[in-house]
Structures are given as structure tokens and as C-alpha cells.
């Protein structure tokens, strides 16, 4: 195939630079703001240069918002619980879709896709009432229960495509040899599908981490259960916003998800795009 001329290369790299600037500017600026003293931030017009950059805000933020550690823990706890619960519901369902033929199989799969299109925001009113009826408002469950429901559909689709890759002959051979279904599950399916389970679990974790805000501001008023996104609003004071500390805390809050994603992005992207693209 033909190569790019110098001019073409220059043009493409410049365009990529503009594109990346748009995508990364908020993060770069968040990081820069987190390193600057507050009085440097509060200069108008904007000063591009600061001479005393430091990680001071990363220490001070724990004092300004004493519960910050708790919020970060909550975010993790909520996202992990949602991910584990999602997997528990999704594994048998995805296996069933991948292996068996039964009436309404395809139509129910499409219904799952359609459910995916309903966001939590539309159903907040009845969810609020359900959670109130069961006395679950202002608790971890208030954020976990709805969180799981909205991750089940995509997770079933994702995991189903992993299960389909495991050759059915293996299971058939074992079955003919007299292995029980439980034995097949333990000795054949489980080991072979571990990578798939990890990817779907991480997808659910990231999804749960991202969707916490809506459920948290609506269903939970108690500080001790707040996840990091709603906890961050405590940096907004009566007098002024401590932007540098808020940005520092934001970056600390998203770092774990970003790191997870960077290591596993190849698998997650492959899994998610497979459905749309494989044909």
C-alpha cells in the first residue's frame, strides 16, 4: 500500500492533535488546577503560568472534606457490589442464551436491547416509591438495587458472546460420558470462561461507578453512604469553591477506574463493539 507523504503526515498529526486537545483538555486543566494554589486560580483573566506548583491540594483535601476517604470507599463498595450481583444474575441467563434453543429466545434478547434504552432518569418516580415502600431509601441498597437492573441487559449480551466461543462439543462429549450439568459447569465452562467473566465484571464495575451519581442524589441523603461524585460537591463552600482540592479529589476518585480500563481496554472494546461490527 502507498505511504503518506510528509505533508500528509503533518496534516494528519495536526488534526489528531486538535482532536486530542478537545478530548483531553478537561483532564489536563483539572490536573493543572489541582497543582496550583487557590489564589493563582482566582486570577482574572486566566494566567497560564504558575511558578509554585505543588501537590499541596492532594494533602489538604482530606482535611477540607473529612469524609473523603469514606466517599471513595463507598464508590468502590457500591460499584463492586453492583458488579458482583450483576454477574450472579447474568451468568446463568447468558449461558442459557448461548447454549439452548427455546421459544421467545430471540424476541426476549431484543427486549433486553430495548430495555437498555430506558435510562434510570425516566423511571426515578416509581423507583423512588418502590424503595420507599421497602424502606431502602438512604442506604447502600438504594443505589445498588437500581444499579444492577440497568447493567443486566448489556452484560447478558456481552457474556453470551463469550460463552458462544466455547466449543459446544466439549460439553457434549462430557455429557455423553455421563458428567452432570453441575460437573460440566465446574470443570469445563468455569475455567474456560474466566476471561469473559472478568471482562464483563469490569464492564459492570465501570458502568456502576459511572452511574452512581443519579441514584445517589435521588435516593440517598445520608452522608455516610455517599459515593465520590456527590461527595465532591462538598468542596463547594458558601464563600468560594476550593477548585484545586476538588480537582485533586476528582482525579484521585477516577484514577482507579482509568487504570483498570487502560489495562483491559482491548478486551472491553472488543467485546462491546463485536455486536455492532462483527457482521
Amino acid at each position: 500500500m502507498d505511504r503518506y507523504t510528509f505533508l500528509e503526515k503533518f496534516f494528519i498529526y495536526s488534526a489528531i492533535f486538535i482532536f486530542m486537545t478537545f478530548i483531553l483538555l478537561p483532564f489536563v486543566e483539572m490536573f493543572y488546577a489541582s497543582l496550583r494554589p487557590l489564589d493563582h486560580l482566582f486570577r482574572s483573566p486566566y494566567q497560564f503560568y504558575s511558578d509554585d506548583l505543588s501537590f499541596w491540594a492532594y494533602r489538604e483535601m482530606w482535611n477540607t472534606v473529612p469524609m473523603l476517604g469514606r466517599y471513595i470507599f463507598n464508590s468502590f463498595f457500591l460499584a463492586s457490589s453492583v458488579a458482583i450481583l450483576t454477574l450472579l444474575f447474568v451468568i446463568p441467563a447468558a449461558y442459557s442464551y448461548a447454549r439452548f434453543n427455546f421459544p421467545f429466545k430471540n424476541s426476549s434478547l431484543y427486549i433486553l436491547l430495548a430495555i437498555n434504552m430506558f435510562s434510570g432518569a425516566v423511571l426515578l418516580i416509581p423507583l423512588y416509591k418502590v424503595l420507599r415502600t421497602f424502606g431502602l431509601l438512604n442506604s447502600y441498597q438504594a443505589m445498588i438495587v437500581p444499579g444492577v437492573a440497568f447493567l443486566i441487559p448489556t452484560s447478558i449480551w456481552l457474556l453470551k458472546s463469550y460463552f458462544e466461543k466455547i466449543p459446544v462439543d466439549l460439553e457434549e462429549a462430557a455429557f455423553v460420558d455421563g458428567a452432570s450439568r453441575v460437573q460440566i459447569l465446574r470443570h469445563i465452562i468455569a475455567p474456560l470462561s474466566t476471561p469473559g467473566l472478568v471482562v464483563v465484571g469490569i464492564y459492570a464495575f465501570i458502568g456502576a461507578y459511572a452511574q452512581q451519581f443519579l441514584f445517589a442524589i435521588t435516593f440517598n441523603q445520608k452522608k455516610e453512604y455517599m459515593p465520590i461524585p456527590s461527595g465532591l460537591y462538598e468542596f463547594i463552600g458558601y464563600q468560594s469553591v476550593k477548585w484545586n482540592e476538588m480537582m485533586a479529589a476528582s482525579l484521585v476518585g477516577i484514577a482507579p477506574v482509568l487504570i483498570l480500563f487502560i489495562f483491559l481496554q482491548k478486551y472491553i472494546v472488543e467485546g462491546l463493539t463485536a455486536g455492532a461490527v462483527k457482521n
Binding site: 441467563a93 432518569a121 418516580i125 416509581p126 465501570i206 461524585p229 480537582m247
Partner: protein, 299 residues
């Protein structure tokens, strides 16, 4: 196939039993609330209690000028946001598909807006849009485009545009990644043949790449229309639907009515409108998907 194998492959009861937990969960947390929303929309439900009021909520809603404005605004907002996501996503995918050094690094670097919780990304945008201290106003003032501080979220029109830009920022990475995956799925021999026939890079893009990825472009436009329509956090955090309602879309209005004023009945009527529109989108999407799949399986 022997009898034992057949019973292995078509155990309807087992199949349903395995799906049951997930199905029941979704019925309880998604399907039942949908029905409950419809029922509530015919009541004046609030924290105090509820009475059946027939179509009153709908009549009031549909006859209010404000609501009609909100619907129009929602579609205008959606139109700009979705078009920009698709255009920027396509350009981004073309750029990152070029066989140049560093492209696998760029492909990872475009992901953060997609992965990071929206609520946190929006804090970054709040700071960027700050009229006095933000970098955008700063660049404007240094270059003389702005003659003083300018709060991007404080004026009707600029807030409308600013929320669109932030929404595009959140949605573009996913569109880019899907387009990129589609481009890489185009059979290489098509390009090689065209190259041997002397087709220019331009020709190859318009005659091979574009037609080959059209199904994905169509799918993505509907999917991103649905997600954009559902977009709540972005607007809520940046403007809460303001200033003076300038960024209040249907979803924001539903939320404000229901959980801002605790007028569940009125909120539910709005939610029903949202659900009807979503069902239309979803039906359109599924019909299209079925057609694309059929086409592929037939040739």
C-alpha cells in the same frame, strides 16, 4: 444425534430456569416501574397521597406553551449533539485509522471521557466554562475575542451551546471507537484491489470504506440519538436546566417536576411522553437491526 444429546441441547425448562432470576429482576425494577409510571400519570400523586384525575396531567401538559417549547428544544439540542458526535467521531476514526506511529496510544487516550463518571468529567467542564477564571474565557480575553469575563453557562444561548459541547465530549469517544472497529473490519483485499487499479486514497474512502461501514453509521446514529435523548447528568450538573429554562430538556423537566417539586403525577405524565418517544426510537432501531442482519445472512 443420539437421544441423550438432543435432551442436552433443548431443555426448555432448564433454559427458562436459568434466565428466570435476571428476568424477574428486570420485571421488578424496570417493567413494573414502567407500568406504575403510566398509572401514576393519571393521578395527582404527591407525597401527600394520590387521587385519580383522568387525563388532567396530560391536558395541562400538552396545552402549556412551556412544555411545547421544551419538546422543540429537546429535539434541537439532540440534533446538534448527535450530528456533531457523528461527524467528529467519523473524522476521529479516519485519523486514528491512518497507519501512523502512535496510533495505538491515541486510541487509548481518546477513551477517558467515556469511562470516567460523567459527574466528575462535568466538574472539569464547570471549571473550563468559568467566566472569570476558566481557560476558555481566559483565551478569549487574551486574544481579544472577549472584552471581559464571560460566564458561558450564565446566558441562554451560550449555555445551550456549552451543554451541547460537553455532551459531544462525553459521547464522541464511543462513536469513534465503534467507527474505528468497523473500519478495521473492512476486508483488506478490497483496498489492495482498488490500490492496484490506481484508485486514490480519496476514492478508496468514498467507494470502499464509507459504503462498508454505513450499517454501523446508521446503528450508531440511532443509538447515540437515544443516549443523547436520555442525557441527564450533563445538563443537570452544568446548568440544572437554566438559565431561565434555556437548557431544560424533556428529561430535565421530568426530573424537576417529579423530584424537585414532588409532583409525581405530573412528572409521570412527562415520563410517559419520554417513554413513548424512546419506544419509537427503539422500535426503529430494532427493525433496522433485523433488516441489516437479514441482508447479511442472505448474502
Amino acid at each position: 444425534m443420539n437421544k441423550k444429546l438432543r435432551s442436552f441441547n433443548s431443555p426448555t425448562f432448564l433454559a427458562y430456569a436459568l434466565i428466570a432470576p435476571a428476568a424477574i429482576y428486570i420485571l421488578l425494577i424496570v417493567a413494573w416501574p414502567v407500568l406504575e409510571t403510566i398509572r401514576l400519570s393519571f393521578t395527582n400523586s404527591s407525597l401527600a397521597g394520590e387521587d385519580y384525575v383522568g387525563f388532567e396531567n396530560y391536558e395541562k401538559m400538552l396545552s402549556s406553551k412551556k412544555f411545547n417549547k421544551i419538546v422543540t428544544r429537546t429535539f434541537v439540542w439532540m440534533f446538534f449533539s448527535v450530528s456533531l458526535k457523528l461527524i467528529i467521531g467519523l473524522i476521529g476514526a479516519i485519523l486514528l485509522n491512518a497507519n501512523l506511529r502512535g496510533r495505538s496510544m491515541f486510541r487509548v487516550l481518546i477513551m477517558p471521557p467515556w469511562v470516567v463518571p460523567i459527574a466528575i468529567g462535568m466538574l472539569g467542564w464547570l471549571w473550563l466554562y468559568n467566566g472569570y477564571f476558566g481557560i476558555i474565557a481566559g483565551v478569549g480575553m487574551h486574544t481579544g475575542i472577549l472584552d471581559g469575563p464571560f460566564g458561558f453557562l450564565a446566558y441562554k444561548q451560550s449555555a445551550f451551546i456549552s451543554t451541547i459541547v460537553a455532551d459531544v465530549w462525553v459521547g464522541t469517544p464511543m462513536v469513534t471507537v465503534f467507527f474505528l472497529a468497523a473500519m478495521q473490519g473492512v476486508p483488506k483485499d478490497l483496498y489492495e484491489a482498488a490500490y492496484c487499479d490506481g484508485a486514490s486514497r480519496w476514492d478508496r474512502f468514498f467507494k470502499i470504506t464509507l459504503p462498508q461501514i454505513t450499517p454501523v453509521i446508521i446503528t450508531m446514529s440511532i443509538l447515540s440519538a437515544i443516549w443523547t435523548f436520555n442525557s441527564f447528568e450533563i445538563i443537570w450538573i452544568l446548568t440544572e436546566g437554566g438559565p431561565r429554562g434555556a437548557t431544560t430538556t424533556l428529561i430535565i423537566d421530568t426530573y424537576k417536576q417529579a423530584l424537585g417539586n414532588y409532583k409525581f403525577g405530573r412528572g409521570a405524565a412527562r415520563a410517559v411522553v419520554v417513554m413513548i418517544l424512546l419506544t419509537l426510537f427503539a422500535g426503529f432501531y430494532l427493525a433496522l437491526l433485523a433488516r441489516i442482519n437479514k441482508k447479511i445472512s442472505h448474502g
